[in-house]
């Protein structure tokens, strides 16, 4: 009896030891798996804003897959994002003043602050150390440390003789660790120089025109151009010689013509430049305007399907992809930059809100709000490669933006 029991015990012990060895192997294997999963590049990653649920979807553009979903970012209507220079972190600017730093590899929120009551966008400094946010309420720009999101500077957009405060739009980064932005209610363009981050210097330029609504900066960081909603033309600042002030360009564009209603504010995102021309959406007209880069004169008006919202240049500059405001927001048109003619039209579905090219432009991702999908197209053949399920997608931002001035 006793012998038998001992045998059984021994047997059990053996089994236990075997099991332990196996378990050890399993743990070793799973550790390897975890380590393998963690070692990953970030150059093909991106985020898609899900604006109704206040979450973002993390995607990769090589296999077109969803890597994860991160909730808890607040009101993401009109949200945008910039990336840290190591392309590990995304900084998401929410409408409700939320500034959220997201770790794309660990897929979690690393820092989050509510920095204002109502915000419209942001930028990351040339050295990657500062994050600036443009606010409607309280009107101005607030600057934070990109590592910790601790406040660094507060620039209220107080203008005129009294204490009027303007809403701020068109915030971009510029060389020299500067931020440039426009005061919607004051018609001014301000340049905040953070080369000495503890003592920023602000240059205020007046006479931008009526209601600058958005702005862009050339990829070399030299020219800042603000679009005007309240009048015709654009406001131009040469950042190599900012003391020369604001120059108005295309002042006669559309003079005396009846404007069509604008059901969505156009955007000036990036520099839709191809060869010698800059392409911008007209305001109140169903046209894309081509501007001559050398003398800033109007080169051509390209008739399009509706009120353009985004005019995005494919990275090689050969094609421009254009989406439209209501009631034409089911359509995307493609313009050839050399012939300045529409060469292709797509109907992805109702509520086409944003488009983003892969870093070298072989594909474009298009968010279609009402189908809850992001369609991926081959930019050469215009054929749809795939579609990804995303809840009410709006802005799409790929990490390649980290290394481009103004994005």
């Amino acid at each position: 009896m006793d012998r038998k029991t001992t045998q059984i015990r021994r047997h059990r012990r053996k089994v236990t030891m075997k099991y332990r060895a196996l378990a050890g192997l399993f743990i070793a294997a799973s550790t390897t798996l975890v380590a393998w999963a963690a070692v990953r590049g970030t150059g093909d990653l991106g985020i898609i804003i899900e604006r109704t649920s206040g979450s973002i979807t993390v995607v990769e553009t090589t296999q077109h897959t969803v890597l994860g979903r991160i909730p808890g970012l607040g009101d993401l209507s009109h949200a945008s994002a910039v990336f840290s220079r190591d392309t590990r972190y995304a900084y998401v600017f929410g409408r409700d003043g939320g500034l959220t730093k997201i770790d794309l590899l660990e897929q979690k929120i690393s820092h989050r602050v509510i920095q204002a009551g109502n915000s419209i966008g942001g930028a990351i400094s040339q050295d990657g150390r500062l994050i600036a946010v443009s606010n409607y309420e309280p009107g101005g720009v607030r600057v934070f440390d990109s590592e910790t999101l601790q406040p660094v500077a507060d620039i209220p957009a107080i203008h005129g003789a009294g204490d009027a405060v303007s809403r701020v739009v068109g915030l971009v980064d510029a060389p020299g660790n500067r931020f440039v932005f426009s005061l919607f209610d004051a018609g001014e363009i301000w340049i905040a120089d953070f080369s000495d981050r503890d003592n920023p210097e602000i240059l205020k330029l007046t006479g931008a025109g009526n209601q600058p609504y958005d702005a862009l900066i050339t990829p070399d960081g030299r020219y800042y151009i603000a679009g005007l909603f309240g009048e015709d033309g654009l406001a131009l600042v040469d950042l190599w010689q900012p003391q020369q002030g604001i120059r108005r360009i295309l002042p006669d564009y559309g003079r005396g013509e009846e404007k069509l209603p604008v059901y969505k504010m156009p955007h000036l995102e990036g520099w839709a430049a191809a060869g010698d021309h800059l392409f911008v959406p007209a305001v109140g007209r169903h046209e894309v305007i081509a501007i001559n880069r050398h003398d800033w004169s109007e080169a051509q008006r390209i008739p399009v399907h509706g009120q353009p919202v985004f005019v995005m240049a494919r990275p090689d500059g050969r094609h421009l992809w254009v989406n439209f405001a209501l009631p034409d927001n089911d359509t995307v048109q493609v313009i050839d930059a050399s012939t300045m003619a529409v060469v292709h039209e797509l109907k992805p579905g109702k509520g086409v809100l944003h488009m983003e090219f892969t870093p070298r432009g072989e594909a474009v991702w298009v968010s279609v709000r009402d189908t809850d999908r992001v369609n991926v197209y081959d930019t050469g053949s215009f054929r749809q490669i795939t579609a990804i399920d995303v809840e009410k997608p709006s802005g799409i931002f790929f990490t390649a933006r980290a290394h481009m001035t103004g994005l």
Binding site: I120, F229, P261, M265, P327
Partner: protein, 98 residues
């Protein structure tokens, strides 16, 4: 038929259209007024903000727009009964931030 018509006039747009309008307010109006309707480039459209403003005035603003602002006339996309329905929804807080 007559009864159906008058019922519709009293209650505003049909259910399917109401859902479309609700989406439109959140997403398209929300582009400027904020998706939670707490304001952005355009003013907040919360019940507190709209209190004391007459329905007629608000319907007029929706359909006719406001000059020298970014508010466009929506009369090519909405009729009077739809604009009236939207005003009632906004005033009661049935659409927007909860």
């Amino acid at each position: 038929m007559l009864i159906a018509c008058s019922a519709q006039a009293e209650n505003g747009p049909e259910l399917q259209r109401q859902q479309q309008l609700q989406q439109m307010v959140l997403h398209d109006c929300g582009a400027c007024h904020g998706m939670s309707l707490k304001g952005g480039l355009g003013p907040a459209l919360t019940p507190a903000m709209l209190e004391g403003k007459s329905d007629d005035l608000l319907v007029e603003v929706i359909l006719g727009g406001r000059e020298n602002t970014a508010m466009p006339p929506w009369n090519s996309l909405l009729n009077a009964s739809e604009a009236t329905w939207i005003v009632k929804q906004l005033k009661s807080g049935a659409i927007g931030a909860k």
